[in-house]
Amino acid sequence: MATVIAIVEDDTDQRENYRDVLTAHGYEVRAFPDRPSAEAAFDRELPDLALLDIMLGEDMDGGFDLCMQLRNLSPTLPIIFLTARDSDADRISSQRMTAWDYITKPVSLEFLVARVHALLRISEQLQTAPTSENSVAVGSLEVNEKSMLIHWKGEPVNLTLTEFWIIESLTRNPGHVRTYDALSDVTRQGLVERNTINGYIRRVRNKFRALDPNFDRIQTVHGTGYKWEPDYE
């Protein structure tokens, strides 16, 4: 049975482009132009992954409402927000609703497919049995590449897919600087401005600090990039 991906996007052209590329990659796509039709369909049957636009026509926060509905129906369903809105407030909202990823338009379809793949794999991993296999420990940090989970001092850190990739990239060579260009590639979003990278790093730091107020492993190398400060003990 083919994996079912739900797309909720009010713009017909974009919706059909997503459908085309995902169909071409072998997914079964169900596309909805608005919240009522999507809600009705989700009540009947849950998809394996949902791609949601936040603004749906006149419905300013329609995507958030749908996310909450889906989260009620399934706590583990991978949800990707795909939106033109790029404010911290929106990102935080999406995080609160435990969306798995937040991508701003314009999105590269190639990267979109890669993300969908990655998220479905994680979802699959989580449904079978969470193991500590494939876990790499970097000091107090534990990175599970397979299930794309990060633990800091044993506590899970709730990161989005992009944020995970950034941490994973930084910790691959602790103590070495990751330049902005390298980090930009890692985010798999096409061209990414320094400021966007700074935003990701800021949000990641805040998430770590929520668990550990003294967290200071991610160091800024001004004008160049960031590095992960290894444990010295």
Partner: protein, 745 residues
């Protein structure tokens, strides 16, 4: 994009230079203008003064006419009454000043034989009789021939009279001649209180004692041939004349007596005719020897009811003799004019006194004029009498004696076709003047009060107005920064008042409000625009990718590549559009995330990074301090520096040198990033740090003018300032950023 940048920079530059070029005319402030306007009120007292003057003229004419009518009335009453003017009827009366008014009082009696100097000092200042008056002398008066200086003194027993007489020829009595009036002599007329008139003639045959005779009215016949002893005197020759010393016992005079001296001059020792007479009592009545005055009691009774206040009515006969008189020109009590000198008790009264004195000085109080009123005016009276008597026509004149004004009317009295006499009425016009003066005084005080009140009110009003205008001006100026940025979008002070200024305030306030909304719209515009562009861009992007996916052979297609490049450029535009807006939002949340960091190492790191990323340029850091602690968000400062370097690369020459300089100026760090590009156009120098302002003219590059706006936002977030200037020498631009130091090191 160019259409967005162009008009804004153009309009802002035009708006900035416009008022600067305005030449402001020199002029007065509102308050000064209003006060000058009040000053125009000073015309009112001038008008008042003029109208009072006109009124005076009118009233004087009225008074004159009334007086004329009165005079003519009296003259017609007295017409055809020859009996009244019968020269044989009447009571002679000597009119003159009371004796006491002339005297200086002494205690010791004066000796007749004492030298003239003793007498002179005793009698006080001598009265000067030049004989210039018509009645003092005959028409042929020669001053070189006769001048009299006269003084009187009084003790408890006697009256002492002293004369200094200039006489070219002194003619003594010839003992051979019997008659007494043919030599230089002194005549004394005494009118006692009971009406009895005594006439004494004093003459001498040689220097020494006078012989004294009691004379009849014609001064020719002796009543008693005996020389008298009760009046004694002596004559003493002086250079150019003689001195005469007389002693008159007070018993002779009695109480309330009147006294007259006449100096009779005879110059020709051969014919011994009287050349001239000078009288100490220059009364017309004394012109006729002996007949002092003929008062007709009936006439007096007739004119008694005609009494006019402050007027003097006299009736004269053909011989210029007063037949009746009533009233006085000057009222007996001058206090009627309010001249009484109160003892100023309180300060207020003293002040009032001063004010009245001031008015007297300014307006020439007519009561002062009364002092100029002569007690006698016989010469002028005689002139008008002569005219009326000869012409038979009524006559009126106005006389001025200094400040005093006198109206004189004369009207002939007819009897059997002949002019029998004249009615002469004299009235002072000073009463009118006093009235006028009082009016003027009241008016002036009233005016002054009104003027001061108005001036005060207008001063207060204009001060308040100026204050309000100034406050509005201040608030309006404070509403925008010197770069033209809107700092507040309403004016509160004075917006509630209902007048035009309040309405102006409200207009400006609403204008600012609209401007604020528009500014906010403009500031939001990039964000809105970016958001709206994202979706179509995503359509194009995803469509291109689908195309490529389904047609793998097209992946190297040059047109597809170009479309991708276009999308890439569109993306970077949109990103920079949103950057400023999201930065503002982000900064407002980062207020609590400030930390202490070393600006020096941050700059050094950044510059190293920039150099690595831009091998085409030389980027050099010249950092004066080794450590520079500041308080802020290092990421944002790095972002600021990103923009400065981006800007320097964009506007500098290719392969040029970019210098990042840091130095400490007082409590601030100054970061200076200089490039060697072309100078800034002066018209955008002020607005360079505003959004959507760029000096870029190269259409191939994308310059939204948001980079330096971000620099400003970050600097202002750190309570710093930004400025731009051309480097001295014509090429190269410096952007200066001042950030406060952390002094808690």
């Amino acid at each position: 994009m160019n259409s967005l940048v162009g008009p804004r920079s153009a309009s802002s530059s035009r708006g900035r230079t416009g008022p600067g070029n305005l030449r402001i005319r020199k002029g007065l402030k509102i308050r000064t203008k209003l006060l000058l306007l009040v000053g125009l009120l000073l015309v009112i007292p001038w008008m008042g003064y003029e109208s009072v003057r006109e009124m005076e003229k009118f009233l004087l004419e009225g008074q004159e006419q009334a007086l004329e009518l009165t005079t003519q009335g009296i003259s017609s009453i007295l017409g055809n009454r020859t009996d009244l003017f019968d020269p044989e009827v009447g009571v002679p009366e000597l009119i003159g000043r009371p004796l006491t008014s002339l005297l200086s009082e002494i205690t010791e009696p004066l000796a007749i034989d004492a030298p003239p100097e003793v007498w002179t000092s005793a009698v006080g200042p001598l009265t000067y009789f030049s004989g210039s008056g018509l009645f003092e002398c005959g028409p042929g008066y020669r001053p070189d021939s006769l001048i009299v200086r006269h003084g009187l003194a009084l003790n408890q027993d006697a009256v002492f009279a002293f004369f200094e007489i200039d006489d070219d020829v002194v003619v003594y009595r010839d003992p051979a001649l019997l008659s007494l009036d043919t030599n230089d002599q002194i005549r004394i007329t005494i009118q006692r209180n009971d009406g009895e008139i005594l006439r004494y003639l004093l003459t001498a045959q040689e220097p020494g004692r006078f012989s004294v005779y009691l004379m009849r009215a014609n001064w020719r016949d002796v009543v008693d041939g005996q020389a008298l002893r009760d009046i004694s005197g002596s004559i003493e020759p002086l250079a150019g004349g003689y001195a005469a010393k007389l002693r008159i016992p007070r018993d002779l005079l009695g109480v309330g007596a009147r006294l007259k001296f006449e100096i009779v001059d005879v110059d020709n020792p051969d014919d011994r005719a009287v050349a001239q007479i000078i009288s100490t009592e220059p009364d017309p009545g004394s012109y006729e020897f002996g007949s002092v005055r003929l008062v007709t009691p009936e006439l007096a009774k007739l004119i008694q009811p005609l009494y006019i206040s402050e007027a003097n009515i006299t009736v004269w006969d053909q011989s210029y003799r007063v037949r009746a008189q009533i009233g006085a020109i000057i009222p007996p009590a001058r206090e009627a004019f309010g001249l009484e000198q109160d003892q100023a008790v309180s300060i207020f009264q003293a002040l009032q006194e001063k004010i009245i004195q001031f008015f007297d000085w300014i307006l020439r109080s007519p009561t002062r004029g009364l002092a100029d009123m002569p007690d006698e005016s016989s010469t002028e009276d005689q002139r008008i009498l002569a005219r009326v008597l000869s012409e038979g026509e009524p006559s009126t004149e106005r006389r001025r004696y200094g400040e005093a004004k006198l109206i004189v009317t004369a009207s002939p009295i007819w009897a059997q076709g002949e002019v029998e006499g004249v009615v002469l009425v004299k009235q002072s016009a000073n009463k009118l003047l006093a009235l006028q003066y009082n009016t003027l005084q009241r008016f002036t005080i009233l005016f002054l009060a009104v003027f001061l009140f108005l001036a005060f009110a207008i001063l207060i009003f204009s001060t308040r107005l100026t204050y309000r205008v100034g406050r509005l001006q201040r608030e309006t100026e404070q509403a925008t920064s010197s770069e033209g940025r809107l700092l507040k979008d309403r004016i509160r002070a004075g917006a509630r008042s209902s007048d035009e200024l309040g309405s102006l305030t409200r207009s400006i306030s609403s204008m600012l409000h609209n401007l604020g909304q528009y500014t906010r719209y403009l500031e939001r515009l990039p964000d809105t625009l970016a958001h709206e562009l994202h979706n179509p861009l995503n359509v194009v992007n995803s469509s291109l990718e689908n195309l490529q996916y389904h047609h793998a052979e097209l992946s190297e297609d040059k047109h597809l590549q170009r479309a991708r490049n276009g999308i890439g450029r569109l993306r970077s535009i949109i990103t920079s559009l949103t950057e400023a807006a999201s930065l503002k939002e982000a900064l407002s949340q980062e207020q609590e995330q400030l930390e202490r960091f070393d600006l020096c190492s941050l700059l050094q790191n950044c510059v190293d990074g920039y150099q690595a990323a831009n091998p085409g340029h030389r980027i050099v850091a010249t950092l004066v301090p080794t450590v520079a602690w500041m308080h802020g968000v290092p990421d944002r400062v790095a972002q600021l520096l990103d923009k400065l370097i981006d800007n320097a690369i964009a506007f500098g020459t290719p392969n040029g040198l970019i210098v990042v300089n840091l130095r400490i100026i007082d409590n601030e760090f100054e970061i200076k990033v200089s490039n060697d590009g072309p100078a800034l156009p002066s018209e955008i120098a002020d607005s360079l740090f505003d959004p959507m302002v760029s000096s870029a003219r190269d259409a191939r590059k994308t310059h939204l003018g948001l980079g330096l706006y971000i620099v400003r936002l970050v600097a202002e977030f750190h309570k710093g300032t930004v400025s731009a200037r051309n480097r001295p020498g014509g090429s190269g631009v410096e952007i200066l950023v001042s950030l406060p130091r952390d002094l808690n090191a």
